[in-house]
């Protein structure tokens, strides 16, 4: 605005410019109010848009971690209940063997009955060890084998044999099923149970131990205390030895159960943490991207008033010229 001469056209042009600017601001505020977003394009706030992209990506990852955690909890609760079953069955087998070692072996018929009972327990235990979750064997690690143990009780999961300094070798199961619960390298939780460590494999397996007791109970040389042709152990000694072996097997299963329990607890903790993170991230995103509703509405109302005033003033100012007053 110049000092001095003010012309009619200047008045019109500047009124139009001012009304236009007021209208543009009104449109911007009404956009913010209707979308609820303060930042709808990068230039609205370049620094905030980079942060928003980061938060959106973290939100997306966090949602995925929630899926992973839920899936992991499914695996772990399945493993947990199966381990409880396996412990009970092993304990039951051990009780039966103790019974066999003590009193219940007076006749061939009662021995046969005990053997049949033990067979049932063994088969149940093998069934438990071959439990599947969503089509995958939970004790077979990362193997795609449908069962963790085959008919000869051999472990089917991937194994690795390492040489010890004393010349012997140690074979362990490798490849556990893991679920990612966060972005860090350590943010993975094992959701499978190590079937090889829990149940053993082949002749060392808990199943083979039970089978050995069953064979001893059915041994025709039981009454005469004749040593078995292959093992060179008398049936009674074999049964007594079975008590200790099943006791050791129970310890192994319980040890693995404890690991599953610890992982389960970690997973449940992760689920709670995940929900907290989700809330925190949403708060962060909202703080960066969302418009403050109260402030936006207040601004909108103020701007509406300013716009109406601009229109009113323009209407009043541009109408009269000197012509209106010269009659």
């Amino acid at each position: 605005m110049s000092i001095g001469r003010v012309t009619t056209s200047q008045l019109w042009t500047s009124s139009a410019t001012n009304v236009q600017a007021s209208k543009a601001r009104l449109s911007q505020l009404s956009d913010q109010a209707s979308t609820g977003l303060l930042v709808t394009k990068p230039s609205d706030d370049p620094a905030a848009s980079a942060a928003i992209l980061k938060v959106l990506s973290q939100q997306s990852a966090n949602t995925q971690y929630k899926t992973n955690i839920d899936d992991g909890i499914g695996w772990l609760s399945s493993a947990d209940s199966t381990m409880t079953t396996a412990e009970n069955l092993t304990r039951q087998a051990k009780d039966l063997v103790i019974q066999a070692a003590n009193s219940g072996t007076s006749s061939a018929t009662s021995r046969q009955a005990l053997a049949t009972q033990l067979e049932g327990v063994r088969d149940d235990l093998l069934g438990a060890a071959n439990t599947q979750y969503n089509g995958r064997s939970i004790f077979a690690g990362t193997s795609d084998s449908p069962a963790a143990f085959d008919a000869a009780y051999a472990y089917q999961g991937p194994e690795r044999t390492t040489a010890n300094p004393d010349g012997t070798t140690t074979t362990t199961a490798v490849g556990s099923v893991q679920r990612r619960i966060g972005s860090g390298p350590g943010d993975v939780v094992t959701v499978s149970a190590d079937g090889r460590a829990a149940f053993g494999t082949g002749d060392d397996s808990v199943f083979a131990q039970i089978s050995a007791v069953i064979a001893a109970l059915r041994d025709p040389g039981y009454d005469t205390d004749t040593p078995d042709a292959t093992t060179g152990v008398t049936p009674k000694d074999a049964i007594t030895a079975g008590i200790d072996r099943l006791g050791a097997a129970l310890t192994n299963i319980s040890a693995q159960h404890a690991i599953v329990g610890a992982n389960y607890a970690r997973m449940t903790g992760a689920k709670a943490q995940n929900a907290t993170t989700a809330t925190a991230l949403e708060t962060q995103r909202s703080g960066l991207q969302d418009a403050d509703t109260t402030k936006t509405l207040l601004d909108l109302k103020t701007q509406e008033l300013a716009y109406q005033t601009a229109l009113q003033v323009t209407a009043q100012v541009i109408q009269p010229t000197l012509m209106s007053f010269l009659r």
């Binding site: 605005m1 110049s2 001095g4 001469r5 003010v6 012309t7 009619t8 056209s9 200047q10 042009t13 500047s14 410019t17 930042v39 394009k41 990068p42 230039s43 609205d44 706030d45 370049p46 620094a47 848009s49 980079a50 928003i52 992209l53 980061k54 959106l56 990506s57 997306s60 990852a61 949602t63 995925q64 899926t67 992973n68 899936d71 979750y133 969503n134 089509g135 995958r136 077979a140 690690g141 990362t142 193997s143 795609d144 999961g157 991937p158 690795r160 490798v174 490849g175 099923v177 893991q178 679920r179 990612r180 972005s183 993975v188 991207q289 010229t321 000197l322 012509m323 010269l326």
Partner: protein, 473 residues
């Protein structure tokens, strides 16, 4: 003093008042005409004629003399309008180009490329979870679909950038035509003005037209003007004469009209006669040509080409990262895994040719070496590629924030320079615009001046009548 001299004086007043009323009429008629400069009759008292030298008494003068019709403009303000218009159009065109690209990014949102990438990485994690289970095929189909979505998103982004480039190229061509037209118009007007000025005619309306055309040239090219003695103006662009008196030099666009080959022959402006480059001093065309430039190493090239380059870079880096990680893995059937992504044509743009090669779960790398077929460590490792410092996600986020700040800067500068341009136009309107109040009061003044002159004549008439009829009673 002659008996009748009073009549001549009053008659000159009548003529001057009538002419002034005509000029007022012209001003009122053009109150809303763009580029019209108000005019005013300039008049001076008529000196005593030579005959009066022999008069015995001193004379009051012989009436009024209309010396001309002045065009009330301010050359300094006019120059300021031109230079601010050049700056304002430069930044406005820059902000428009950046705005086009920025809007096409569709960020930050839950449907832009960053979100597509997030979903893609998530699908790898679901794949890691599902391997060996009954959901494996479903997870694999989802992963392949997400991979295809990544491919189609970068391809759509690249296509949008290349379409915008072509549109901007056509628009630049139209701008060049407008420049040549305006230059031709200035030269034609120069010719008319020179001829009419020599003949002593009023050229005010032609000057208005020429000023409008020159302002248009300044807006488009940042041109500056220099007045000549014969009433013509010269228009200079980048130190060279675009209009010299009544002659013009034409400018033309060079460079390929196809986006795919623009990096080898960039778009540039040159003189049509000598084929030497024109260096623009700003203005709309400078911004348009800058936006059409090919991409360069430090990311300051043309906005469209930089966008396309980013999509290409993302397509290449995502394919390389995923394929390299895939190569270390094995499928759920225990076979070494092949590439997940491939390019339909290795020579063309990576963004346009990116495609998913894996067709089913059997082609997807999930397991590590000797870890069992249902292992998911490699799929999990791939799912983490997105959070690496040089990941496609990081490249994209960096680009989005760069475009955002460029666009915000350009918009802010456009707004500032428009304010300056508006202030200059305001000052111009203040100096040369028509004020109806002023014209109305002039109307009254000149009307009364006319009436008063007429009354003088009528009074002298009465006096003479008295004198003539003195002895006839």
């Amino acid at each position: 003093m002659s008996t009748f001299s009073g009549l001549g004086t009053a008659a000159s007043g009548l003529t001057a008042a009538r002419l002034a009323l005509e000029v007022t009429g012209q001003n009122v008629a053009n109150a809303n005409t763009e580029g019209y400069t108000r005019q005013r009759v300039t008049q001076s008292p008529m000196a005593q004629t030579a005959l009066a030298t022999y008069a015995t008494q001193s004379s009051v003068g012989d009436g009024v003399l209309v010396t001309g019709v002045a065009r009330l403009n301010d050359a300094v303000v006019d120059a300021r309008v031109r230079s601010t218009a050049a700056t304002a159009s430069y930044w406005s065109a820059s902000a428009n180009a950046l705005g086009t690209v920025e809007t096409a990014l569709n960020e930050p949102s839950t449907s832009g490329l960053s979100s597509v990438l997030n979903k893609f990485w998530g699908a790898w994690q679901s794949m890691a979870n599902a391997v060996g289970t009954k959901s494996a095929e479903g997870a694999a189909s989802n992963l392949i679909a997400q991979g295809q979505l990544v491919a189609s998103s970068v391809s759509a982004g690249y296509t949008a950038a290349s379409t915008s480039w072509s549109d901007a190229r056509s628009a630049a061509g139209l701008t060049v035509t407008a420049i040549n037209d305006a230059a031709g118009q200035v030269a034609d007007l120069n010719k008319s003005i020179r001829a009419l000025t020599a003949a002593g005619s009023n050229v005010n309306s032609l000057l208005d037209q020429r000023d409008t055309a020159v302002t248009k040239l300044a807006q488009l090219t940042g041109a500056t003007t220099r007045p000549n003695a014969d009433g013509t103006v010269d228009v200079t662009v980048g130190g060279n004469l675009l209009v010299s008196g009544v002659t013009t030099r034409k400018v033309e666009l060079t460079g390929d009209a196809a986006f795919s080959t623009t990096s080898t022959t960039p778009v540039a402006l040159q003189w049509a006669d000598t084929k030497t480059p024109v260096s623009l001093d700003g203005g709309e065309l400078a911004a348009r040509i800058a936006a059409l430039q090919p991409a360069n190493a430090d990311g300051t090239g043309g906005v469209y080409a930089e966008a396309a380059k980013t999509y290409d870079a993302i397509a290449s880096s995502i394919a390389t990262a995923v394929n390299t990680a895939s190569a270390t893995g094995y499928t759920s059937k225990g076979q070494p895994a092949g590439d997940f992504f491939s390019f339909t044509s290795p020579a063309g743009s990576p963004a346009l040719n990116l495609t998913v090669k894996a067709a089913s779960a059997a082609d997807i790398a999930v397991a590590g070496k000797d870890l069992g077929n249902s292992d998911g460590t490699v799929a999990d490792a791939i799912s983490q590629l997105g959070s690496a410092p040089d990941s496609p996600d990081a490249q994209w986020a960096g680009y989005v924030s760069r475009i955002g700040s460029q666009s915000a800067t350009a918009t802010a500068r456009a707004s500032t320079s428009q304010t300056a341009a508006a202030a200059a136009t305001d000052a111009q309107t203040s100096a040369s615009g028509v004020d109806l109040d002023e014209e109305t009061s002039n109307l009254v003044i000149y009307q009364h001046a006319y009436q008063a002159s007429a009354r003088v004549i009528s009074t002298i008439n009465d006096i003479l009548d008295t004198l003539i009829n003195m002895g006839a009673r």
